[in-house]
């Protein structure tokens, strides 16, 4: 298969125009000893063969659509309305470049502007950028931004319940700086305090109290907030958040083995010049017609080079479009309703599993979408057993090694995830299967 339209005649015509005999002559600047090496990649296939091969690979994976699914841990199975992929499949959107030429990019620009507005509504924040690679990268960039905003302060302080892989990403991003990551509460040496709502283990946090404590220490308050949960839980913006980050995957984006996701990033007007990433603004042309344009570009790498606020040069444009379509399709009531449904189902599941003999859930604090189930046996073994029946009961937390900044997870802890996709009957089946686990009943 080739997408090359040049016929032999075209090639000859082009070579003739150039006064050349063979295309190889165009590569004479390349050192001869290295020119035209052996390349051990098989010849191309027909489209039919390609699809067969890809189908074979795809079939060797477990699709969540063919199982009873309670596995989350940062990537979630939510319902994706048909309209989302219908819009994303329009070539005018997905084959467009970054909208640097606003006159011929108003479609992408207006869609991103509306995306920014919707995320701003969910988070209660003034400024939302046009997105980052994923939630983890957004959080790491937020930490770097806090260091820029608070010169002289070198600590990045993490609340308990930050996703272990996010912490790993932050460690990589901060490898160079003199910054120190620690767990606890902010003090006068802290550039920022970062909390997640809900936390990695599904705990709903008291943002107001955490924000006040953080600001009393003079640190920036950073909240990593789930955008769907934010339609039901208190907005970070109403609790004094200086920066809000999030993973937008729950908003109409397939799990796709963990990527592409959608890094959300919001801040206040006051801090806009310290913000990384591109942002869309609305302005006018000479005729007074409203139009959108990429703005505040003087912060960015293509202008500011080594003094830029980040090296980021792309965004997750198409994923931001997916989130916008998702939010608009469900609308005001549908998004709030889904967010509430997830809460109710999580509570139902937590209570149901807590009542099982040998299992327990700490119900002393509220949880959203996920909760830790203490199993009577290693969680890995429980999950393994249930998977044989096509039930994925959750994530065994023992997979995460103990980190100096993260929680120390126990072998018998299973992180159970419940979304609007799980019916009551499915939750009951999960409970039954857990109860029937051979080490499960006393």
């Amino acid at each position: 298969m080739s997408y090359n339209p040049h016929t032999e005649g075209d090639r000859l015509k082009m070579l003739e125009q150039l006064g050349l005999k063979a295309v190889e002559e165009l590569f004479q600047d390349i050192p001869e000893s290295c020119r035209y090496p052996e390349v051990d990649i098989p010849d191309g296939l027909s489209e039919m063969e390609v699809k067969n091969r890809m189908k074979q690979l795809s079939d060797r994976n477990q699709s969540a659509d063919d199982a009873l699914w309670f596995l989350g841990g940062g990537i979630y199975r939510h319902y994706i309305p048909s309209v989302v992929d219908a819009v994303l499949s329009r070539g005018e959107f997905f084959t467009a470049y970054t909208p640097y030429q606003p006159e011929v990019s108003q479609g992408t620009l207006q869609a991103l502007f509306e995306f920014q507005t919707m995320i701003g509504e969910l988070y209660g924040m003034e400024v939302v950028n046009a997105s980052h690679y994923d939630g983890a990268a957004a959080m790491a960039e937020a930490a770097l931004m806090a260091l820029r905003c608070k010169p002289g302060r070198k600590e990045i302080v993490l609340d308990e319940g930050i996703h272990p892989e996010y912490i790993q990403v932050m460690e990589t991003y901060l490898a160079d700086s003199a910054a120190v990551i620690r767990m606890g509460r902010a003090d006068e040496a802290s550039a920022c305090f970062i909390t997640a709502n809900p936390s990695f283990t599904g705990q709903i946090r008291d943002l107001k109290a955490l924000g006040e404590e953080c600001h009393a220490a003079g640190a920036l308050f950073i909240v990593h907030a789930d955008p769907l949960a934010s339609a039901f839980l208190e907005r970070p913006g109403a609790c004094g958040a200086d920066i809000v980050t999030g993973e937008g995957q729950p908003l109409g984006i397939p799990m796709s083995y963990g990527g592409p996701g959608l890094g959300l990033f919001a801040t206040t007007k006051k801090l806009i010049r310290k913000m990384p990433g591109r942002v869309v603004g609305c302005t006018q042309d000479a005729g007074g017609r409203a139009g959108c344009v990429l703005t505040f570009s003087a912060r960015e790498q293509h202008i500011r080079r080594e003094k830029a606020t980040s090296n980021i040069c792309s965004n997750q444009g198409l994923m931001a479009l997916a989130a916008a379509v998702y939010l608009a399709a469900l609308g005001k009531e549908g998004v709030a309703g889904t967010a509430r449904l997830v809460y109710d189902k999580t509570a139902y599941a937590a209570d149901a599993l807590n009542s099982l003999e040998g299992y327990s859930v700490d119900r002393s604090h509220p949880c959203y979408r996920e909760f830790v189930l203490n199993c009577p046996a290693p969680a890995e073994a429980v999950a393994h057993e249930l998977q044989k029946e096509g039930i994925f009961p959750g994530l065994a937390l023992s997979r995460f090694e103990a980190s100096p900044y993260g929680a120390d997870f126990k072998e018998n802890q299973l992180l159970v995830c419940v979304t609007e996709m799980n019916s009551r009957e499915e939750i009951d089946r999960l409970a039954k299967a857990l109860a029937g686990y051979k080490g499960g009943s006393k």
Binding site: Q17, T95, Q101, A175, P260, A290, L321
Partner: protein
């Protein structure tokens, strides 16, 4: 509402109107302390499904895209995005697979990643590849951090400076700054190459490495690349390859053979995955023996029993992204490699270079290339030959009137009034001819009727926008404002 009748989603909204309806709850409502609950609902749109589809369909028509027009953006490789890639990425085993699946239940994904790592490494002559980075700049950050860790692990801690040619993308200096290095600019010589004499002066024990885009952003292959690399190696520095322009050299030369230590690929350029209006991309990073143990992890390896498994390189710089890279983009790129094969990839590069030289030869008498050499997959001209008082930006905007997307303009920075054209291999000779003819017409207009260029574009929904107002009176989210 703007001029051609595209309202904002909020202007289309009516209180109580529903689009997609959610299922009724089948569980009891649960209690929650008031302090955790938001007080007022987010003011999201309330539109019908038909209005929603019309809204986005209309918006889409305001975009130029590869599907609708020639898109000669230099350095961006706007080639055709094959439809089969879109279909394979949506196969349920890929799209509905979860990153925390047990490895035994994700063998298809792992095999795909393993094969893609292998093919990318083979194509560019490297030992190992990490698929983690989500974009080119992310790959750059990875590579620079790898070089940093390499020096540190040898106790070589005095290397604080990184060399960047003056023709480089802005991401290069920004990436080295993020990794804590001082960016030191290297000038170009009068043939558009890195100035070797200047490089030799700069190379000392304070140099951690150099970032080289080859072919460079002038569309030229570095004629002294072997000497450049050996000069940097001789002072103890390592060499980073920015693979932004890899589309010129697939199957023609392997950067690993030239002595590069680490390089990133832009799957959204060279390997045909869509740009998506700004992303998502993917920027896998490859390493030679010197750096393969430092790659960001995890990578996919193969066990003795033939199964595929995640492995962490011995001295890895760590993780750059949660989960497994932009996997959906990787599926598309692998589909493309299977479709073209080794032979097709080489043919693609040859055609891309032939097309660029052909196009240049059709316009060089009116828009001479800045360096008079054979170009690779793109060429850089200057708008200085336009009529009095007419700038490259005017030419770019006038191209819109003729139905073409403008080329990259004002980059690279070292060419005044730069105009950077990359046709790619997927455009027919008829399109190249039509574009060349249009450029010629516009150059003539710039001399005879310059006002046509100054006011361009004339037919779009909006004309040139007031970017000063956009910053001074920022409107970054404002319901119903558009």
């Amino acid at each position: 509402m703007n001029q051609n009748g595209i309202s904002s989603l909020w202007e289309l909204s009516s209180s109580g109107r529903r689009g997609v309806v959610i299922p009724r709850s089948d569980v009891p409502a649960a209690e929650l302390d008031d302090k955790y609950i938001r007080k007022d609902a987010a003011d999201l749109p309330e539109v019908s499904e038909l209005d929603l589809i019309r809204h986005y369909t209309r918006l889409s028509t305001l975009n130029y895209s590869i599907d609708t027009r020639f898109y000669p953006l230099g350095s961006c490789t706007m080639k055709y995005n094959p439809r089969v890639n879109e279909q394979t990425a949506r196969m349920a085993g890929f799209a509905a697979s979860h990153p925390y699946l047990p490895e035994s239940m994700a063998q298809g994904n792992l095999e795909l990643m393993h094969e893609l790592q292998k093919d990318l490494a083979e194509l560019a002559g490297f030992k190992a590849v990490s698929l983690q980075p989500a974009a080119g700049a992310h790959g750059e950050l990875a590579g620079v951090l790898m070089i940093k860790k390499y020096h540190e692990s040898r106790g070589d801690t005095g290397r604080t400076r990184f060399l960047i040619p003056d023709s480089a993308h802005g991401t290069n200096p920004a990436s080295v700054a993020m990794a804590g290095f001082e960016a030191v600019e290297v000038s170009s010589d009068d043939r558009g190459n890195i100035d070797l004499a200047r490089l030799k002066e700069l190379c000392d024990e304070s140099i951690a490495g150099i970032m080289i885009t080859n072919p460079n952003t002038l569309g030229l292959f570095e004629e002294q690349i072997i000497d450049v690399i050996s000069t940097v190696h001789a002072c103890g520095g390592l060499v980073y390859g920015d693979g932004a322009n890899f589309n010129a050299i697939m199957g023609v030369v392997k950067p690993g053979d030239l002595g590069f230590d680490v390089m990133h690929y832009n799957l959204h350029k060279t390997f045909s995955t869509p740009h998506g209006g700004g992303g998502p991309g993917a920027g896998p990073v490859a390493a030679a023996d010197s750096l393969k143990d430092y790659l960001p992890g995890p990578l996919v390896g193969r066990s003795d029993n033939g199964s595929f498994t995640f492995v962490q390189p011995a001295k890895s710089i760590g993780r750059l992204k949660a989960f497994n890279g932009n996997f959906g983009v990787l599926v598309r790129a692998y589909t493309y490699i299977l479709s073209l094969g080794g032979n097709g990839l080489k043919a693609a590069s040859e055609s891309a270079v032939l097309a660029a030289n052909y196009l240049l030869s059709r316009v060089k008498d009116v828009l001479p290339s800045w360096y008079d050499r054979i170009c690779m997959h793109e060429f850089v001209s200057s708008g200085q030959s336009l009529g009095e008082g007419v700038h490259t930006m005017d030419l770019a905007k006038r191209l819109i009137d003729y139905g073409f997307h403008p080329p990259t303009v004002y980059f690279p920075l070292i060419v005044p009034e730069a105009l950077m054209v990359e046709p790619t291999e997927t455009e027919s000779i008829e399109i190249l001819d039509a574009f060349a003819e249009t450029l010629r017409v516009i150059v003539k207009e710039s001399q005879d009727q310059p006002e046509l260029l100054h006011d361009a574009p004339h037919r779009e929904t909006v004309s040139r926008l007031d970017e000063v107002m956009a910053v001074k009176k920022p409107v970054l989210r404002d319901i119903g404002r558009i």
